[in-house]
Subunit: 690 residues, 2 copies
Amino acid sequence: MDYMFIAAIAGVLGLAFALFAVFYVLKQGEGTQRLKEISLAIKEGALAFLYREYQILAVFVVVVTVILAVIPDLGWQVAMAFLFGALCSMGAGYAGMNMAIRSNARTAAAAQKSLNQGLRVSFRAGAVMGMTVVGVGIIGLTVLYYAFHTLDPDEFVKIIPAYGFGASAVALFARVGGGIYTKAADTGADLVGKVEKNIPEDDPRNAAVIADFVGDNVGDVAGMGADLFESYVESIIATMALYTVAVPLLAKDNATAWLLPMMVAAGGIVASVLGALLVRVGEIPKMEALLAALRRGTFAASILTAVFAFLVVHFLAESLDPFWAVLAGLVAGVLIGESTNYFTSYAYGPTKSISQSSTSGTGANITTGFANGLLSILPPFIFVVAALLVANHFASFYGVAIAGIGMLSTLGITLATDAYGPVADNAGGIVEMSDLPHEIRERTDALDSLGNTTAATGKGFAIGSAALTALALLLSYTVAVHIVDVKAGTISLAADAVNKMSLLNGPMMGALFLGVMLPAIFCALTLTSVRKTSGLIVEEVRRQFREIIGLMEGTARPEYGRCVDICTKAALRQMIIPAMMAIVAPVLVGYILGKFALVGFLAGATASGFLLAVTMANAGGSWDNAKKYIEMGMFGGKGSDPHKAAVVGDTVGDPMKDTSGPSLNIMIKLMAVIALVLAPVITSWDGLIH
Amino acid sequence: MDYMFIAAIAGVLGLAFALFAVFYVLKQGEGTQRLKEISLAIKEGALAFLYREYQILAVFVVVVTVILAVIPDLGWQVAMAFLFGALCSMGAGYAGMNMAIRSNARTAAAAQKSLNQGLRVSFRAGAVMGMTVVGVGIIGLTVLYYAFHTLDPDEFVKIIPAYGFGASAVALFARVGGGIYTKAADTGADLVGKVEKNIPEDDPRNAAVIADFVGDNVGDVAGMGADLFESYVESIIATMALYTVAVPLLAKDNATAWLLPMMVAAGGIVASVLGALLVRVGEIPKMEALLAALRRGTFAASILTAVFAFLVVHFLAESLDPFWAVLAGLVAGVLIGESTNYFTSYAYGPTKSISQSSTSGTGANITTGFANGLLSILPPFIFVVAALLVANHFASFYGVAIAGIGMLSTLGITLATDAYGPVADNAGGIVEMSDLPHEIRERTDALDSLGNTTAATGKGFAIGSAALTALALLLSYTVAVHIVDVKAGTISLAADAVNKMSLLNGPMMGALFLGVMLPAIFCALTLTSVRKTSGLIVEEVRRQFREIIGLMEGTARPEYGRCVDICTKAALRQMIIPAMMAIVAPVLVGYILGKFALVGFLAGATASGFLLAVTMANAGGSWDNAKKYIEMGMFGGKGSDPHKAAVVGDTVGDPMKDTSGPSLNIMIKLMAVIALVLAPVITSWDGLIH
C-alpha cells in the first residue's frame, strides 16, 4: 500500500495549526485609532511591494516555464513542476506575510494588557508562517508524487527538482529584492533620523519610518519564509532524487526510498506542532521565562523529531544507518543555532567586547565586530563538516541529503520563533509612533529583544541548512549527469569521470576558484544595491525635512508613501544584476568548463557562500546587539560617544546581516538546483577547455 | 656541461646592483640635526624589533631544525636546507630593512634639493631590498643545487622544499609579527592623535609616532621582503620538484628540468636590473613623469623577461610549451597589478565613489569600501584561473608551477618599486616632525602618493603570486606523496587515489570546507591581535598626554621609546596563536582526514585565502586613498564631516590591508610547503575517518 498520503496529512495538521493561529490572532483587537492607522500604512506598503514583486516574478516564472517546456530534454512536466513550486512558495509567503502585517498592531494592543499576551499574539502570528511553509511544502511534494510517481523512476526524479527550482526563483526575488528593500529603508531612515537629525528610531517625523516597517515584513518575514521553504523542499527533493543510492541501503523498493524522507519530514511537522503547543508562560512572566518558553518548544520539537525519525527508519528500512544521518543533521542544526546565539547575543563575551571596543572609537567597533563575524564561522563549519562526515559515513550521498532534512525537520517551529521577531519589532515601532505609555514600549522592547535572539538563531539555522541543502543538490546532480555510477547502492566514479573529478584536474581546480569567488561578487553587488537604494531614501527624507514646513517641530506629517514607493521601485531594479548573475553563472561555467568542473564550481561557491553568509549575519547581529547593550546603559549609554560608534557599526552590519548574508543562502541553493534541473542537458557538456 | 652556475651569476648581478645602490644612498647627506635625530630613533626602534623578533625566530628555527633532523623520513639534509633557507631570508630581510632605515632621512634631505633627487634616493633604497631578495634567493638555490644534486633525484627534490619552508618560517614572523606591529602602532597613533586630540598625522607630540615609523619599516619593508622571498624561492622549488613531469615534456634529462626554472628566474633578474636602470626622469619632473618612469622600468623588465624566457625555453627544451606557461603567469601578474591599481587609486571610479559616499556618513563609507574590496577580487581571480588553465593546458603541473615563476620573475624591480613606498612615507613623516618648509613636505607627499600607487600594485602582485605559488606547491605535494603517478610525463591518479581524490569523497569535501574556513579564522585572529596591541598603544599615548606636563603645548617631548617597546613585545606575543594555527592545521587535517583530503584542504584554503587577502588589501587601499582624495579638497576637504568618515574608513582598512591580508599570503604558502616538506611522512597517512 502507498503510505505517501500520511505525509500530506502531517502537512494538513501543520496548516490546521496555522489556521487556528490565524483565527486566534484576528480575534484580537487592533487597539487605538492611531495604532490602526499606522498598521494600515504598513499593510498597504507591504502589499504594494509584494504585488509589484509578484508582477515581475510572474513574468520571470512564465518565461522560465516556457523555456523549460521547450527544451527537448526537459519538457512540459518539468515546466509544470517549476510553475507549481513557484506558486506554492508564493502562496506560503503571501499567507505568512499577510498574517504578519495584520499582527503588529494587535501585538501592540495585546502588550497593553500584558507582556504574556503580547508574546502569545506575536508568536502565533509567526507560527502562521512557520506552519504554512512546512504544510504547503510537504503537501505540494505529495501532490507531485501522486501526479508523476507512476512514470519511469528516472523520469520522476527528473521532474521533482523543478519544484525546488520554482521555490528558488521565488526565494531569489523575496530574499534579494526584499532584502534590499528592508535595509535600504532601515539605513536610509537611520542615516537621516538618528545620525543627522538626532531624533529617535521609529520617530513619526521620519518619512522613511513606514518604509522601514514595511521592510521588516517583506524582507524578514516573506524573504525568510521563501528562503526556508526553498531549503525545506529542496532537501527532500535531493534525497528523493538519490533513490538509487537508497534502495540497496534500505533494502527496499523505490517507493520506500521516496517515502522515507517524506515521513521524516512529516514527523518533524507533528513534532513542531506539539512543540509549539508547549510555548506558553505563566501570568507573571519575566524575559527569561519567555526565552525559556520558546526554547522549551524548539528543544521538545527536536527531541520528538529524533524519536519520530528513529521510528520511521526502524519501520521503513532494514538498518538504522539513515537515522544516524538524520540525527547528525538535526544535532548540527541545533548546535549552529546555539553558536550563533553565543556570537551575537550581548549575554556573552564576543558582543560585549564589541560594545567595549566602541569606547576606542568607531574604527575599533567596526574592526572588532568584523573580526567577531569571521571568527564565528568556526562552529558552523565544524558542525556542518561533522554532520557531512557522519552522514556520509553511514549512508553515503543519501545520508548527506537526509541529514539536510534532519536539520530542517523542525522548521515549523524554528521558523515560527523566527517570524515572530519582525512582528514584535513592528509592534515596538508602532508603539513608539503612537504616544502610548512608556511601559508599553518597554514591553514591546522586551519582546523585540527576545526576537533578536531567536532571529539570530534562526539566521544561523537558515544558513547552515542552505549549505547542507546545496551540498545535497550537488550530490544529486552528480548522479543525474552520470558523473557517478550507482550499482547496488555503491557509488563509483563513471569511467570518464575518474580523472576529471580529481581536484587536480585543471578545469576542476579553476572552477573551484571561480566558485569561491562568486559569492563575494554577489555580496558586493547586493551591498551596493542597498547603498544606492538607501541613498535615494536619504535624499527623499532630507528633502521632506527641508521642504515640509513644521515637520521637525512635529506640526506636520511626512509623506510616508513616497519613501515606500521609491524603495519598492529601486529595490526591484537593483536586484536584477545580482539575480541574473546567480542564474547565468552555473550554466556558463558548466558550458565552458564542462559538467565535471561544475561540481568544483558549486562546491567552492557553497563553501565560500557559507563563509560569507555566516560572517555577515553574525557580524551584523553582534553589531546590532552591541549597540543595544550600550543603550542599556553600559559604556556611557545612549547618546555617548561609544553609542555613536556602535550606531555606525549597526548601520554597517544591517545590509550585511539582512541583505547580503541571507541572499547568499539563495544563491548557493539556486545555482545547485539549476544544475540539477538542467542535468539532462548538461550531461552532454564536456567543456570547451581541457 | 652543468650550466647552473649561470643562475648564480645572475644572482650576483642583482646583488651588485644592490651594492651600487647602497653606496649611492649612503653617499647622500642625512640633512639637518633634527632629521638625523628622528632617523636615529626610528633606526633604533626598528633594529630593536628585528633583534627581538630574530631572537624568538632563532629559537623557533633551531627547534624545527632539530625536529626535521630527527624525523627518520626526513633527516639532516632536510634540516640543513631549512636552516639555510631561514638564514638566507633573514639575511635578505635584514639587509633590505637596514637600508630602508638609513634612507628615510637621506630621502628627506634629498627632497630639499629636488623632487627628482628624492625619487632617486628612495627608489634606490627600495632597489636594495628588491635585488637582494632575488639575488640571495637564487644564489641560495644554486648552492643547494651544487650541494645535493648528485644525490638520487628523488632525494634531491625531498631536500629543496625545506629551503622554502625556512623562508616561510621567517616570512611568518616578519609578516604576521611585523604586520601586527605596524598597524597597532599606526592605528594607536591615529586613534589618539587624529581622532581624539585633533592633531595632525606624524605630529611630534604623539608618543606613538616613532613606533608608527618603525612599523613602516618592520612591516612594509621587512615583512613584504620576506613574503616575496618566500614566494620567489618556493615557486622555483615547486617547479624543480616536478622534474618527473618536466623531463618528457622538455624531452631532456633531470638536470635540464632543474636548470630551466632557474634560468627563467635568472633572465628575470637581468631584465629587472636593466629595467631599474631605465627608472630616471628629467630635471623638471612632474608626478606623472615619476610614475611613468617607474612603469617604464617595470614594463621593460616584463617584456625583457618574456624575451629571455623564450630564449631559455627555445634552447633548453624541445617544445615551446613551457614558455606559454611562463608567459601566462607573467601577463597575469602584470594585469593583477593593474587591476589593483584601478580598484585602489583615486584616479578611478571605485575609490572616488568611496570618497563620495563619505558625504552620507561613516557607515556609507565603510559599506562602500568593503563592497569595493569584495568586487575587486574579480580580475585577480579571473587572471589567476586563466593563467592556471593556460599553463595546465600547455605543460600540466609543471606548467602551473613555472607560471608562478613567470609571475615572480620581475620581482627584482617590482619589489624595488614597492619597498620604495615606505621609505618615502617615512621621509614624509620625518619632514613633518622637523619643521622643514612646507614645500619640502609637498615634495615628500608627492613621493609618498606615488608610493601608495606602487604599493597597491605590489600588494596585488604579492597576493596573486602567493596563490599561484601555493597551488604549485600543492601539485608538487601530490607527486611527492604518490597521489599521482608520473609515467613518461603523463600524470595519472594512483590506483588508490581514484575515488579518494574525487571531490565527491566525503573527507575530501569536508576538508575543502575546513580549508575554506581557516583563512577567515586566521584573519579574525590577526585583526584581534592588532586591536589588542593598538589598545595598549592608545592607553600609553593617552597616559603620556595626561601625565607629561606641557606635551600638548609642545614644550615637552613624549617618551617615544615606551611605545616602541610596548608594541614590540605585544606584537610578538600576539602573533603566536595565529602562527601556530597555520603550522598545526595542515598536519592535523592530514592526519585525521588523510593525505588525499589534505589536497582539498589546501586548495580550499588557497582559494579562500586569496579571496580574503585581495578583499582586505583592496578595501584597505581604497579607504586610504578615498581619505587622501578628500584631503586634496574634494567633498569638503580636510576637517569636514566626510573627511572624518573617511578617516574612520582608513582606520578600519589599515589592519586589513597591512596585517591580515598580507599575513594570508604567508599562511597559504606555509601550509602548502609544510605538506610538501612532510610528504615523506604524510604519504602513509590514510586518515582516521572514511
